[in-house]
Amino acid sequence: MTGPVVRLRGLSKLYGDFTALDRVDLDVADGEILALLGPNGAGKTTLISIVAGLTRASAGEATVLGRDVVRDYRFTRRAVGLVPQEVNFDPFFTVEEALHFQAGYFGVRLSPARLEEILEALDLAGKRHANTRSLSGGMKRRLLIGKALVHEPRVLFLDEPTAGVDVRLRQQLWAYVRRLRARGTTIVLTTHYLEEAEELADRVAVIDRGRILLVEGKDRLMERQGGKTLRISLGAPIAVLPDGLARLGARLEEDGSAIDVDAPPGGSFGPALAAVATAGLPVGDVETRRARLEDVFVSILGSEGGAAP
């Protein structure tokens, strides 16, 4: 597969006067994890719902593996797995039955080996005969992932997969997502947990008010948008910044007890450390802080006049 797995062109969705998606263009490459990042109501769920067939676009085109999601829905839906944001369960059936039914809807007979693999991977083997109603919230969420994977989709959409999930389960889910990617599954992840995108994503698409503001490799984005900051904690506060440091753009913080210096992209902190030594300042501690995706995200939304995350 050389082209994008998912390709969106001019995709729009209107609900009456409200524009949920506004002429979105986006490509998702084969085998990548793309994080779709945006505040609540930005259009993330609408976007993936259109690709998965849950919602119809008002205009534009969405293709999966080169086939239109409306005209060739049987083909595209077999290629797509969706883990919806809202936890759902059918109180009449067991975990195993739920997985068998979901596979059947996709025209797939779930082999015992594949069933076992999914149950093991999602830590549900001990609950296979339990009624889905009796599962904990975390188990229900894992079952959703299992149901989305029964037909071995080429691309998996995870809509806020760890919303309301505890730290241990979050780590487990992240590990499982990485394993899926390692096996060649393309993953699109919507989240407003920036830590999640930072942890998992190869690329980040920032969406706000239905518009894609930016799509970029996560590392490159953080490199470009947010460099490193050096913080020098002083043994005693100072009132005036020495000239050598002021020329490097340093700032006095913490009532003169600390100095922050931003490193220029690709540059080093050597000149700043030399200026501190030249000025003879009493250094208590030195630490560097790399800008987190959260800072980048806030700066992008801020520059576009968007909402806070």
């Binding site: 969705k13 998965a52 849950l54 919602t55 919806p84 009449f92 039914f101 059947g104 797939v108």
Partner: protein, 253 residues
Amino acid sequence: MNGLGVRTLFSKEMRRFLRVPGQTLLSPLITTSLYFLVFGWSLGSRIQEVDGVPYARFILPGLVMLGVVTNSYLNSASSLFVMKLQGTVVDVLVSPLSYAEILGAFVAAAVARGMLVGGIMWLVGALFTGFGVAHPLLALLLLVGVAAGFAALGFLTATWAGSFEQVNFLPTFVVTPLTFLGGVFYSASMAPPALRWLTRANPIYYLVEALRWSVLGRADPPPTAGFAVAAALAVGALLVAYAVLRSGWKLRG
């Protein structure tokens, strides 16, 4: 065609109602037995015959029709509504099942439940009144058509409904009154003029009478009227349900 998908959805729908037999099979059986006991047995001993047929045997086709109508409607209505409520309707909507396949599986399972309940009711009633059926194949055909029509109506209602109260609107305010005023317990020719007029204006009356003809071999209006109503109901309701499902109304954004 996604044959395995249709079979799976049908099988899931069947298992759903078979898993709660007390509610889906036993409950209508008890209700019918009570009708039979009160109207057939106790009143029947005084009424003796209606149109030359023992009263208990006269009311049996109408009771079976009531059971088939109610259960086929409730199966698709409650199943789809619970799926909407629980969010599991998403599981079907993201699958490669076509609209016709989804509707077909829902309706087939609802027809199966209606026929199963109707069959059990007929067996119980026949123990008291005799097993003879004048036109068994036509009786089956009629009941399947009626069940399919009401299953499609149930599907439509659940698509529209926002609460259980709305799901129960049709059986409570439409089907039950029409059935009671549809000649289940009386012959229109014996009724006072106002009730006779009301009965003959009621489409369910023609369904009940067509089944009565199929079972007893005689009825008041010509049975073709009932078969025509059943065919129109089945075709009309299925077409509207298909069009609504295809439009995405209330199910797809």
